[in-house]
Symmetry: C2
């Protein structure tokens, strides 16, 4: 049976390029895109038609870096720098997730909030807690959010309550618990970051990555103090990334958050290995980390997507994160002659959608064969304009202004998950 979804289609198959079909149709078969058309296809018996009239039919957002247990901290402690903020706010909050009852309440709320904001795919850190991580996966799966969730591994430079004492045994048990339980949520190996992981732990995680083929996520070159710390901890590594690479945690299925201080050599290593750089502009600004060299990365062929990085970032809404990436890039362009061109609206839309979805194996834009990930935006409640707007203008306005009340429907993995 087919579903035909009608609206003003705007998708981003390429960086900086929009594909626009006014009054177009997405034809779905079993939730997968069978065709993207500029007119209603000839009717077949049983067709289900969802006509959204003059609404925008956009790609949904993919959030490639966020910390689920930090959701309750959103918008707090922003005047502290990274390492102090971790000790004062983050670690104490994560310790609460030993309580699976609390975890369920917080994660149910998070899953619903993500969908209400149009985010349908995530690459997410949980905490070190095996059970709370399963709860998180259950809540995301049940709500309809897809993607990767990682039980965090760390065994040093952290509070006792959050320290792994059994190496990766609990991670292996978590992977066993996950097996066959979820359709849209998959595990990802998640060393917190080099300073919080002993060499032995990184080595074991690398071996596990090789054994299982699982993807890997971590943090990279977020802050100068952190970069210097890694250099002390790994004197054999010329650069931060090598502390992951030497243990087999650096390949085409790796996502590294931040990369603010990744210079040409580190970026080259990312490009060569196919590592995804996850740009988290609000977090990097709010924790006074800096502005990542996104324009350079894109020019050098490094893959880049966007992350909210809550709660280092105070914005969970990826349209606001995309607008934040534009803003940060404008300020970088003003202060750094090496970055003359800021990120345009079209580029930011691509980074917040296609670039992120591709980490999960999706194609470019609304690609035939992909399960649909889309949002329907009804922008009629935005300020009234006395002339017709073009579809690119409406896309820009939606990126800057829209909130949950402007999102009329959300599709994830081919299913309508909220109305």
């Amino acid at each position: 049976m087919r579903t035909i979804i009608k609206g003003n289609i705007i998708h981003a198959p390429q960086l900086g390029e929009l594909s626009i079909i006014p009054g177009g149709c997405l034809v779905l078969e079993d939730g997968a895109i069978a065709a993207v058309c500029d007119a209603m296809p000839p009717a077949r018996p049983g067709d289900q038609i969802e006509d959204y009239g003059d609404c925008l039919l956009l790609q949904s957002f993919a959030d490639l870096h966020l910390h689920a247990p930090q959701f309750p901290l959103l918008g707090m402690g922003m005047d502290l720098p990274l390492l102090e903020w971790l000790d004062t706010y983050t670690f104490p909050m994560e310790a609460y997730f030993a309580d699976t009852g609390y975890a369920r309440r917080a994660y149910r709320r998070l899953a619903g909030t993500l969908l209400s904001l149009g985010t349908t795919r995530v690459c997410m850190f949980s905490s070190v807690h095996r059970e709370a991580t399963l709860v998180l996966m259950e809540e995301l799966e049940q709500a309809g959010v897809a993607g990767y969730v990682g039980k965090v591994d760390m065994d040093r430079n952290c509070p006792d309550a959050l320290r792994e004492t059994d190496g990766i045994a609990s991670t292996r048990r978590w992977l066993a618990d996950c097996a066959g339980r979820f359709s849209h949520i998959r595990p990802i190996l998640t060393p917190r970051f080099t300073p919080a992981c002993s060499d032995g732990l990184l080595q074991d995680l690398g071996a596990l990555a090789a054994e299982t083929g699982l993807p890997v996520q971590s943090h990279l070159s977020e802050n100068p103090a952190e970069v210097a710390w890694v250099r002390e901890l790994h004197p054999d590594c010329e650069q931060y990334w090598e502390s992951y690479a030497k243990y087999g945690l650096w390949n085409g299925r790796t996502a590294m958050a931040h990369c603010v201080y990744s210079d040409r050599r580190e970026r080259q290593a990312m490009g060569d290995a196919g590592v995804l750089a996850v740009h988290c502009p609000d977090s990097n600004t709010s924790l006074s980390s800096g502005i990542a060299p996104v324009r350079r990365m894109l020019e050098e062929g490094v893959k880049v997507a966007l992350g909210s990085d809550i709660a280092g970032g105070a914005e969970l809404a990826m349209n606001r994160v995309a607008a934040g990436a534009i803003r940060a890039s404008k300020l970088l362009a003003l202060s750094d002659p090496d970055h003359p061109a800021f990120l345009t609206v079209l580029e930011a839309y691509y980074l917040a959608t296609t670039a992120g979805h591709q980490f999960f194996g999706a194609g470019a834009g609304f690609a035939v064969g992909d399960k649909l990930h889309a949002i329907v935006v009804d922008d009629s409640a935005l300020p009234p304009v006395p002339r017709p707007l073009t579809l690119p203008e409406r896309l820009e306005r939606a990126l800057y202004l829209m909130g949950p009340s402007d999102i009329r429907a959300v599709y994830s993995e081919g299913r309508k998950v909220s109305a």
Copy 2:
């Protein structure tokens, strides 16, 4: 008759200093603050009690620079630099306000939106249109927004449809039309900016300012191209500000938006004259203007308040503008050794409230004798936190996250204007 408003009072009498009264009371007599108490005062017959329980009782916001006729443009054209954006988006949009019917619809919506976001005082640009400006004043007054509105004056370097051809005659007529009609909205003289005003027009406006004692608002040193242009137009002026000062438009009742490129000498001139610098961080970022030297201004004793500058800025909500000021200051601190200290949450709250309200003659924080300007924030729908939050933490979270649905009541000029 007294009204007693109970809640967790947080106000900012001084830059960087909060005055906090958990479960405190604001006692109003005829809308004016008679006392700020830490407990319920002895009852009097007829007392009206408004108990907001555990809600936050905060100062409302003052938006010291925004363009009312640009409200429909919110979030559009942000990839253009200032002068190009004016020609492509701003001027054509302002021309629509020759139609007073359209103006009434747009301005009614704007007034309601301002209150829904907790902004109760504005220092606002209208367009050149006399009638639409009166409509704007009526709509603000009727909704309960207080402050200053200026009919724009410009007679060069603008489209014919927006060019004044009769000098300040229509401005004098507008002032005559205003007289005695409004209780909470007052006129302000508003030369658009030096490049758009002939010398004769600036001279006449200066004379009118001297004659009437009215306040003055304009733009200053927003963008390097604009600064260079003013230098060409006024070769006798060493700096931009002198093009206002030489015509008597530079004094303690003057508000100048932006001041991004105001160097020490220009800042000294502001401090000496008591001119208010209106910092518009979102606009300055979005139009790639730069970041104003706010920390330096504050250290040098220049008065600073905040403005949304819609639609150069894409955020009308002043809590978001305040958070944007923090973000911009963090990036400036990272790139400019002359600005080592970013703006803290407490400082941003002060700048968005007390610093702005004082331009209208208000005192510091919730000052006895002032008509109440306040908002009641119910933050219980924000993410659930498993420990009690301190009131400064709740203030921070509200600044970063709150939206209209978290604002339970708004008081303007001593009256409850929305519930």
